[in-house]
């Protein structure tokens, strides 16, 4: 019966299932985001006047964001599943960097198209939701 109660109570599992779901959805969405932003940068460089010293930073920041995102999702997922707060905390810190980069692509890019606005808004919303869930998970792990 205690085993049954534990299974029914879920009290030994501290990992957050919504957070894990969100990580999974985020990963898929980010792949789409990355490809879409890259394609749009290529489109802008053909259609508009996009000199090299504006194109360079935009592309570099996109690739940095991709690397950060991979790292972030890996650490977050790892920390959530092993119920460790350290990787989850690190993932939260990296999320701050990702948020800044997303704001860059939303506001400070050379050309901000309407599509850019849409996908970056969705990404920022996802980051926001993730951050809230991570904080709750860390609180659960610590206590």
């Amino acid at each position: 019966t205690s085993l049954l109660r534990e299974i029914l109570n879920n009290s030994y599992q501290l990992s957050s299932v919504p957070l894990q779901l969100l990580f999974y959805v985020n990963g898929i969405y980010y792949i789409f985001y990355f490809l879409a932003t890259l394609a749009m940068i290529v489109y802008k460089s053909q259609v508009f006047s996009y000199p090299d010293d504006f194109l360079g930073p935009d592309l570099a920041l996109l690739f940095i964001m991709a690397i950060l995102e991979v790292l972030r999702l890996y650490l977050g997922s790892n920390g959530n599943l092993t119920e460790e707060e350290a990787p989850l905390g690190l993932s939260l810190v990296i999320t701050v960097g990702s948020v800044i980069l997303s704001v860059y692509f939303l506001v400070w890019q050379t050309y901000v198209l309407k599509a850019d606005v849409i996908i970056n808004a969705v990404l920022l919303f996802t980051y926001g939701l993730e951050s809230v869930l991570k904080v709750i998970a860390i609180a659960a792990f610590v206590s």
């Binding site: 508009f48 006047s49 506001v107 050379t110 050309y111 901000v112 198209l113 309407k114 849409i118």
Partner: protein, 543 residues
């Protein structure tokens, strides 16, 4: 003028700022301060004009349509109203595409950039950036060339280019010239390095002697070319019968005055001589005057004006072609002075009034009074390509002696200084001996029967100069080159006349130019050869 110099050396300007307000932009407004037809955005049109339009040629003025939201000015005509009126609306135009530009952080993204205006400072850098087949994306350095010259120095003299009018303190240096008729017009500016010679007629009268300023010397030397004063080089006074004398002191300004019922010191000709440096600055200006006199019957005088330019530290050598002779230009000739290996050109000391034609190789000029002995030494220069013949009649009396007569006739035919060499090309330099052709002298006698006991007098009666020339250089642009010059003197026997009798013989001199360029020869291809070799194994079984 100083203000244009200052403006020219100002910092690089750009063009006018572009108009970006759609309410004010109107591309069909072409006429200034007038209403353009069917142009609904023209601010010069009134409501009455709009009622006459049929349609709006420009219905909408928008910015870049790729922006997500932008202002648009819509013009339309309401034909239902009476009278028709124009409707102007300012709306926000929304681009429905998802790829419309929401914002941009790159200022030059959506408009053409104004190109930089080239000035003396940034010209080199602009040339490096845009001067080759492809533009470099970014120049290496944007700093101005610090060791560039500073042209806006106020004390700097003005630099001229070819054809630019020469400026004086008030306007331009003027060379009066005939415009439509032969009357003088004072509005012809003298251009830098443009040699001009003009003749025109001016109306004068004895009563207005001192009042007409265009016939007084002061008018022509009063205007000083910027920073350089016009000096008087020489004054020649021409009397009523045409005799010219050179005055010794040329510093005195001679103004028209009335003297013995004549108005003297009237300017009949001015010859400006400007010296310039190779940077285009004028360093010296001199004027030579010919002053004359008019009597009370004179109603007009002919004035002649001339301007010539010399580079400082060089002696002007007029070319008769470059390199081949040009038809109509005088032949260049010279002589080899004793002890010099190279021919030296005869250069007349600059005549008081430059006559443009240089008397290097001349022939006798026929005068109206055909007497040889009274010919007064009038000679005409030999011009390339122009065959000439001239002559005079010689009256021989019994008292004339042979030897002086021979010498006189030789002087008459050949002139005072008959040259020894003629230039082969129009631009032959005096140092290149090979470019000069020696004049060959021939003597023939008119009498066919040669009398070995010739004790009688032989006097020259005819000089014939034959100039043989050929075409030299490319077929497309052949240059004339003199190959041979022969001066043939024909003499005749002077029989002794009984006293009291006279005889008249004609004396002729002529110049003939002969083209000895070889004609084109036809060229043929090589004759075709018959290739009649049989195959190797034609006689197979037997060979």
């Amino acid at each position: 003028p100083p203000e244009t110099r200052a403006a020219a050396s100002a910092r690089p300007r750009s063009g006018p700022a572009p108009v970006t307000d759609v309410a004010r932009l109107c591309v069909c407004d072409l006429l200034v301060a007038q209403c353009d037809v069917n142009c609904c955005c023209d601010p010069d049109c009134s409501a009455a004009d709009f009622s006459l339009f049929t349609t709006c040629s420009v219905p909408i003025v928008t910015g870049d349509s790729r922006l997500c939201s932008q202002k648009a000015a819509i013009y339309s005509l309401d034909v239902k109203a009476n009278p028709p009126e124009r409707i102007f609306q300012l709306i926000d135009h929304v681009n429905p595409s998802v790829f419309c530009i929401h914002a941009t952080n790159y200022k030059q993204a959506l408009s053409f950039s104004s190109p930089e205006m080239p000035t003396a400072e940034n010209f080199d850098q602009l040339l490096k950036e845009f001067g080759s087949a492809s533009f470099s994306a970014e120049p290496d350095s944007w700093n101005m060339n610090t060791d560039a010259q500073n042209p806006s120095d106020a004390n700097d003299t003005y630099r001229y280019e070819y054809g630019v009018p020469i400026q004086t303190v008030d306007a331009f240096l003027r060379l009066p010239s005939p415009v439509v008729s032969s009357w003088c017009s004072d509005a012809n500016p003298a251009g830098f390095l443009v040699n001009q010679a003009t003749k025109c007629i001016r109306s004068v009268s004895l009563e207005k002697c001192g009042n007409i300023e265009e016939v007084s010397m002061l008018f022509y030397i009063n205007s000083s070319i910027l920073a350089v004063n016009i000096t008087v080089r020489s004054i020649v006074v021409q009397s009523l019968n045409g005799m010219r004398t050179l005055l010794n002191g040329s510093d005195v300004l001679r103004l028209p005055t009335i003297l013995d019922e004549l108005c003297v010191n009237i300017v009949l000709g001015v010859s400006y001589h400007i010296t310039y440096t190779d940077a285009g600055e004028i360093t010296e200006a001199a004027a030579a005057f010919v002053l004359g006199a008019i009597n009370k019957e004179a109603l007009s005088i002919q004035q002649s004006f001339e301007i010539s330019f010399t580079q400082v530290n060089t002696k002007p050598v007029p070319l008769s072609g470059n390199p081949g002779y040009v038809v109509g230009l005088p032949l260049r000739a010279g002589f080899r002075p004793q002890g010099y290996p190279c021919p030296v050109e005869i250069l007349f000391a600059a005549l008081i009034l430059n006559t443009n034609k240089y008397s290097q190789l001349t022939i006798l000029q026929s005068t109206s009074n055909q007497d040889c002995l009274a010919a007064q030494g009038a000679r005409t220069p030999i011009l390339f390509g122009y065959n000439m013949i001239s002559g005079c009649k010689l009256r021989i009396t019994a008292a004339m002696k042979c030897q002086p007569l021979t010498q006189t006739l030789l002087d008459l035919l050949k002139g005072q200084s008959f040259p020894e060499y003629v230039a082969s090309f129009g631009n032959s330099q005096a140092q290149d001996v090979l470019n000069w052709v020696p004049i060959t002298h021939l003597h023939t006698s008119e009498q066919r029967i040669y009398n070995t006991f010739q004790s009688s007098c032989q006097i020259p009666v005819s000089l014939e100069i034959e100039v043989k020339w050929t075409k030299y250089g490319s077929l497309v642009n052949p240059q004339a080159r003199i190959v041979n010059v022969t001066a043939m003197i024909t003499t005749t026997t002077l029989k002794q006349l009984p006293s009291g009798r006279e005889r008249t013989i004609p004396i002729t001199s002529s110049v003939v130019f002969t083209d000895i360029s070889s004609p084109a020869e036809p060229g043929y291809k090589a004759w075709p050869t018959i290739n009649a070799k049989l195959p190797f194994d034609f006689f197979f079984p037997f060979v």
